[in-house]
């Protein structure tokens, strides 16, 4: 886990490569329980919604972005995660998740790192973008 004093503006978190598989999305939907059939697990419903195939639910994509941050800063480090879903995310394709530190500040006794976050497709498509704030420990 990084210390606040060791982080600089422009530092990168990741990139890490992830794939949301058919099986992973199905498992997520088993917990989330969207109405069925749905465009996340059913190809025909997805096509009727104008997609080329089933897509990854937005809240699952957000959970993947959160994972990038908790792997880096700890399980309870996230203070704010604010994402915009820019393009549908297909199953079974490589996705690159990364973040860039854009601000460092101390606020209410916390050491906060703000970052821009991105989920990119194999062709550089920006599937998800947004901002996050994480709290980091201090050496002091």
């Amino acid at each position: 886990m990084p210390y606040f004093e060791d982080i600089e503006l422009g530092d990168q978190i990741g990139p890490v490569e992830r794939i949301a598989t058919d099986e992973g999305v199905a498992r997520f939907c088993d917990v989330w329980s969207p109405p069925t059939p749905n465009r996340f697990t059913d190809a025909q419903t997805a096509r009727e919604s104008g997609m080329t195939g089933p897509i990854v639910p937005g809240i699952m994509a957000m959970a993947m972005m959160a994972q990038l941050l908790t792997d880096w800063a700890g399980p309870d480090a996230i203070r704010d995660l604010d994402v915009v879903f820019r393009q549908p995310i297909p199953h079974n394709r490589p996705l690159t998740l990364e973040a860039t530190i854009t601000d460092l500040r101390q606020e209410n006794g916390q050491n906060l790192a703000e970052c821009d976050i991105l989920m990119l497709g194999a062709q550089g498509e920006r599937h998800v973008g947004g901002k996050a704030v994480v709290s980091l420990p201090s050496r002091g």
């Binding site: 997520f28 329980s33 957000m62 700890g74 996230i78 995660l81």
Partner: protein
């Protein structure tokens, strides 16, 4: 120029509640399996306690899956036909533990228009506060839905 939007403004200030939702270890394990999540604090009581928690915790966005359980009314927006999930914001405030029972309270936060290169879109934002069985706020979640012209 500000666009005058037609929707049910009486919804502002009204709370819509749902729950309780029990956070089980099995639920956390299922979400972990779907994501390939291997974080120790999300995996077992023992590992979580080693990290200073009183037990296994849920990944920070897990409560988002319960937002859809709140029966939200139609805002009656007279704009566009197709709606998409445009964005999501989660502000974790306290750890959510396996065994917690959460309640959700949602209200209409904002309805606003934005015009860009692809035209005008109207965003409807709902905000949901999650509390645990002790009444402590554990997370705030915002969901944005966009409608195109």
């Amino acid at each position: 120029m500000t666009m005058e939007l037609s929707y049910d403004r009486t919804l502002h200030g009204k709370e819509h509640r749902a729950g309780p939702f029990e956070i089980t270890a099995d639920m956390i394990a299922a979400v972990n399996a779907s994501l390939g999540e291997q974080g120790a604090a999300f995996s077992s009581d023992a590992d979580a306690k080693e990290q200073g928690f009183r037990g296994m915790i849920a990944p920070p966005t897990l409560c988002s899956i319960f937002v859809r359980e709140v029966q939200l009314p139609d805002v009656g927006l007279d704009f566009g036909r197709t709606q998409m999930h445009a964005g999501q914001r989660v502000q974790p405030i306290a750890p959510i533990y396996a065994g917690d029972r959460l309640t959700a309270s949602s209200h209409l936060k904002d309805v606003y228009a934005k015009t860009g290169r692809s035209g005008t879109m109207v965003f409807v934002v709902w905000e949901t506060t999650f509390r645990n069985q002790d009444g402590d706020v554990v997370a705030e979640v915002q969901e944005s839905f966009a409608r195109r012209e």
